[in-house]
Subunit: 322 residues, 4 copies
Amino acid sequence: MDKVKHIALLTSGGDAPGMNAAVRAVVRRALYEGLEVSGVYHGFRGLIEGSFQKMELHSVADIVHRGGTVLRTARSEEFKTEEGQNMALENLKKANIDALVVIGGDGSFNGAKALTDKGFPTIGIPATIDNDIAGTDVTLGFDTAVNTVVEAVDKIRDTATAHERTFVVEVMGRDSGYIAMAAGVAGGAESILIPEQEVNYDDVCMRLERGYKRGKVHSIIMVAEGVASGYEVAYQIKKRTGMDTRITVLGHIQRGGTPTAKDRILGARFGAKAVDLLLQGQKGVMVGIKGDEIVTHSLSEVLSTKKDIKKELVDLANILSI
Amino acid sequence: MDKVKHIALLTSGGDAPGMNAAVRAVVRRALYEGLEVSGVYHGFRGLIEGSFQKMELHSVADIVHRGGTVLRTARSEEFKTEEGQNMALENLKKANIDALVVIGGDGSFNGAKALTDKGFPTIGIPATIDNDIAGTDVTLGFDTAVNTVVEAVDKIRDTATAHERTFVVEVMGRDSGYIAMAAGVAGGAESILIPEQEVNYDDVCMRLERGYKRGKVHSIIMVAEGVASGYEVAYQIKKRTGMDTRITVLGHIQRGGTPTAKDRILGARFGAKAVDLLLQGQKGVMVGIKGDEIVTHSLSEVLSTKKDIKKELVDLANILSI
Amino acid sequence: MDKVKHIALLTSGGDAPGMNAAVRAVVRRALYEGLEVSGVYHGFRGLIEGSFQKMELHSVADIVHRGGTVLRTARSEEFKTEEGQNMALENLKKANIDALVVIGGDGSFNGAKALTDKGFPTIGIPATIDNDIAGTDVTLGFDTAVNTVVEAVDKIRDTATAHERTFVVEVMGRDSGYIAMAAGVAGGAESILIPEQEVNYDDVCMRLERGYKRGKVHSIIMVAEGVASGYEVAYQIKKRTGMDTRITVLGHIQRGGTPTAKDRILGARFGAKAVDLLLQGQKGVMVGIKGDEIVTHSLSEVLSTKKDIKKELVDLANILSI
Amino acid sequence: MDKVKHIALLTSGGDAPGMNAAVRAVVRRALYEGLEVSGVYHGFRGLIEGSFQKMELHSVADIVHRGGTVLRTARSEEFKTEEGQNMALENLKKANIDALVVIGGDGSFNGAKALTDKGFPTIGIPATIDNDIAGTDVTLGFDTAVNTVVEAVDKIRDTATAHERTFVVEVMGRDSGYIAMAAGVAGGAESILIPEQEVNYDDVCMRLERGYKRGKVHSIIMVAEGVASGYEVAYQIKKRTGMDTRITVLGHIQRGGTPTAKDRILGARFGAKAVDLLLQGQKGVMVGIKGDEIVTHSLSEVLSTKKDIKKELVDLANILSI
């Protein structure tokens, strides 16, 4: 393969805070190395539609602290077809683009892999608030999302304490309890329900009642949406204890917001590394972080591995909420 | 009536940020004047149960910045009965308490008025995030709640922009559109639906479509819960335009949180004035703010007046969201 | 005078949060009325240099929540001269501009008045974090600045409490103690030193020592820069009591940041009203807020009046910090 | 050694956000295991004075989100003497305390080591915003401090952009550039000056001028206090380029504030592990985090090792700020 001269980048799937920091780093690292850079708008749909725009240093000025993604994001059913992918490849070729950086989650990496399988070099940057991607300790956006949830829980606790009530807080996480677990430990939740563990409402109720006997005046139950809705949890508690609870569904505020320092730095490191990998002739790999080191794994490996939740955190949650 | 020597205070109804600032001011102003002060726990229920605690300077140290209320709050059905009120009066008498400051909303002022009607001096401090109390430009907690909603909208807008979608945001306000209106103007919402105005979904849809034609990539519809649920609004938009929207119900995070500077200062001014009024021998009145001046109105007047929303803000919302 | 058809607007002097909300409102209100609108870059310097840019609806999209000013700001010595002002008028005439909205503080209004004195219609919008402009209860940016200071004080109190130390916090305000007073009351400061009152270090020390005797473990002294530097205050306390204090100078963080809901709404109301006034043929006036009503005063009156600090707040500060 | 039955804990040195989360975890983990727990007030001074207080579950309720430390902190010259240490040991013995958890930085670990050298079991938890302790990727409080600095830089950038000026921001770090480096990368600083690297003002000025030529309208120079004061940096830039800059010294706000989710979880993990280690009969070790795993090192090793700053971050900072 010839040396990469012109790279493109896109963001895809749900937006995650820190995506802009990654975009900035890809663009600046590439320009620093003398490459040409094009931004693709609206994710894979933009590849099919040929929505490319040349990126300069100033294109990414003053975006490091912004939530969302300046490249926009979208879902594309068409790209899942052979025909859509071929159209994308044609557009990339016509624009003289040699390689593509894909910033997103699982679904996005399926798209990236499809292109690499057809011979077009891609690098993946894991960005999703859910932290459900193997091959990296954390994904871009997770730290900000957890802090957003914790801030909300701090607010809810004010009210829970004032009224001496139990609150059920439903957070994002269809298949993954990472947000619920991290925010639950940080927010001092009494019980944390995650998809990785079988839910035991009797245990939840036992903990609640033990706490109230001991003089606890309020309780917070954190539940990942993949386990049950907040309403279902409230119903199960009511059925067993007769206790009324209040329900809050945090919803879309979890996706947005100014990224934390950690997500900005992670985005910067991921972005710079993605360009380095392309310059080294690599493709079909995802950057990740293991401890404090940037690592890489093949997209195939990432896509076929299920990430487990840390047992230590689960145990810790139980101990701290006595 | 003899001069007041010992006052009590309670918080009642939904908690509101700034209640603690008011509690602090009542206690310190009263101690400064040489009065004795007792805190009543759990609102009017605490009067019936005689949950009184003597307050000293240090009892209110380091609480000015805390959400919720250190005196806790509760609803009491019993206090609505003659019998409950008499028990409360007996407890107040036994504890040698001469007067009571009630921090809360409409329902709480009904309770305060009942006591005053029976000859026991009370002063009301309007504290509710809804801002639906006549006789004051703003209630304690409203400024913080609006800022909380605006921060949430700023986060949602990140995601709305990234995905180029329309979001429906449901906020508190059963009978009052104050939060929706203020947060909608501050957050740049495209349409704001409030109980004070008949809802016109055709107009909402016309504005949405006009915006999209003009190149707007995202829209936010703010709706007070008293108008309709976010789900209902989404359904009405879908029915008329076929457009999918996303829904966020902000819920209980609107009640809590560190009070803004404005709510802390308002709490301080209200609290100090309430004590001054008792020292002047007044009773059955509520403190309020009109412009930048502290004013007073009788509780009867306050309870029989409906507060209207400012027409100027409604018009402004329409103009700015073109 | 003919009806206004094309207006320009500029921001000038120190930046203040909410300026962008005012810019947005001027532009949208004017476009709504069918006017042409031009933005002037770099304040009065831009008038002299003819840095005009046509503003459309999208020019002010997504700026309502941003600190600073998209029109930039600068100081211009040249505009203080007859020659500079004539050049500005010529440029305005060449661009077919009929009227000008000036968003800024005292210095900026001198400039606006100079143009109006020469026959060119101007309207002033008071925007400065110092709140030192007569004719309005509050200026644009003040509420945000106070909240920024209060958040900093909340952080400093954590450390002050942990170490049981006294902290001196120096805030902005050369001639005006508004920020110090509001943030001091909201932040629970033990003493507040403002330019409007003679400083009495003996009293400061008496209060400190009284507090410590009573068991207070930390104290915060708030001082406006116009009174003395934080270092001077620390020296005076040390000289009298031997007590070591820590000093924090808050500096430029007070100017920036996402505007509060209140500053966004105020910016919106001021901006819309400024356009209305021009449409009514008014000139040489400043918009302001009195209570909850938008009011107007002539620039001459505003510039010749000194704004006093509210006595009630000063007394309140003394009572609450016992 | 007999099994540990009664442990004590103290916080020492500068306070750091997350200390309370660690205190909570030590107490709850210990009570969960049936141990007795005593809190020591005012750090090592409290050991000498015997300021012990029994801790129950409720002693640590509602503290996880608070900055500072509920156990207070202080410096103690007396504890550095043989006599002071003996008095401390006597007090610990009298109170039947078997082991001590020390939460703090380098200086605190010297104290802990002294006790262990005399036969009394201690475990160290690294807590300092400076992140200058070997044996752990990060220290407790660092993440919060960096986010505090980044928020301040975001505010300063608003003003820097509005006025098109260069700002010098001085942050904490006498011997360590960790805060400056992390906040500089996350905040998009143009130059970052740290004690680990020789400062090159010519390079700083070259980067400034290159940026301005390219159209950058503002610049931020981040400097750790150990390199030079902000004033010195401003002077050196002025001398070389004639350019005026503005200076902000962030000061004590860097220490306080609500801890981030990460610092709360880290505090929880460190605290629980410290108790586990004591139950296993370990002593004279510090807990730390390496990647995502909790690790331990002997206090001697920790105290004799200098922590280096990550080369990758330094290079990244240079690339991203082109």
